[in-house]
């Protein structure tokens, strides 16, 4: 199921940042996460980095990588897939 990771990441964003009034359906796959998109800020990025490392073991060291990875849920999913590809984890099949 190709969309499973995207859905999982949306849920992770909502739960990590306690976005109580937002559901996964409200977040567009290609919509901007920061600024005028979902409206996340730099502290949110720090929280997400911790949650992503804990959940998927992926490391986003700084804003240089972060700006590319956090562009949208799709770019985030692509990054998680790339970084976990070498492992046997099948993240798309929960």
């Amino acid at each position: 199921m190709p969309g499973a990771l995207v859905w999982e990441l949306k849920k992770l964003i909502i739960e990590t940042l306690k976005l109580e009034e937002i559901t996964p359906e409200d977040i567009e796959d290609d919509g901007r996460l920061f600024g005028d998109g979902l409206g996340l800020d730099s502290i949110d990025a720090l929280e997400l980095v911790v949650a992503l490392e804990k959940t998927y073991g992926v490391v986003i060291p700084d804003s240089e990588v972060g700006e590319r990875v956090f562009r949208s849920v799709n770019t985030l999913a692509q990054f998680v897939r790339e970084k976990t590809k070498s492992r046997t984890l099948e993240l798309g099949n929960p």
Binding site: D41, S42, I43, L46, I60, P61, D62, S63, G66
Partner: protein
């Protein structure tokens, strides 16, 4: 919670026309407390810059309980929270020295940037090693308590 303490005395130019300290000054007192603490651990802004980092403030709040007045001695108490992410969070209290009454409390968060403006999402090893004595100090039980 363990705090580092420093003292200030309310100056005439810090009180408003009601004779109370103007609210914005509490934030500069917190800054006095923060610098006094960081200076003890050689973590002043110049020390950060020497390592190639700056630490701008991204969040700041203050709760006002009681007004301070001219010439009163005020105790500024500062502590730092053990980080759960790549940010430093300080907590402050301002107490009237004569009766120990809490005047204001506050919290401030700083993130870490390289000198060329790259924000760090993970605390690098060199900084972690420099922060460790600071965090250890606040982990230790307070001998005065």
């Amino acid at each position: 919670m363990k705090y580092d303490e420093t003292e200030i005395k309310v100056r005439f130019n810090e009180v408003d026309s009601w004779g109370m300290v103007w609210h914005g000054h509490y934030l500069s007192w917190f800054e006095v407390g923060r610098m006094a603490l960081l200076g003890k651990f050689r973590l002043l802004p110049k020390d950060f810059a020497q390592m190639g980092y700056i630490a701008p403030v991204v969040d700041l709040k203050c709760i006002f309980k009681e007004p301070a007045r001219f010439n009163e001695e005020v105790l500024i108490r500062t502590t730092v929270l053990k980080p759960t992410k790549a940010a430093l969070t300080f907590r402050f209290q301002a107490l009237r020295k004569s009766d120990g009454k809490l005047l204001a409390s506050g919290e401030e968060t700083q993130v870490l940037l390289t000198l060329d403006g790259r924000m760090l999402y993970i605390i690098p090893q060199d900084l972690q090693a420099r922060f460790q004595p600071l965090f250890d100090y606040f982990e230790e039980p307070d001998s005065a308590a």
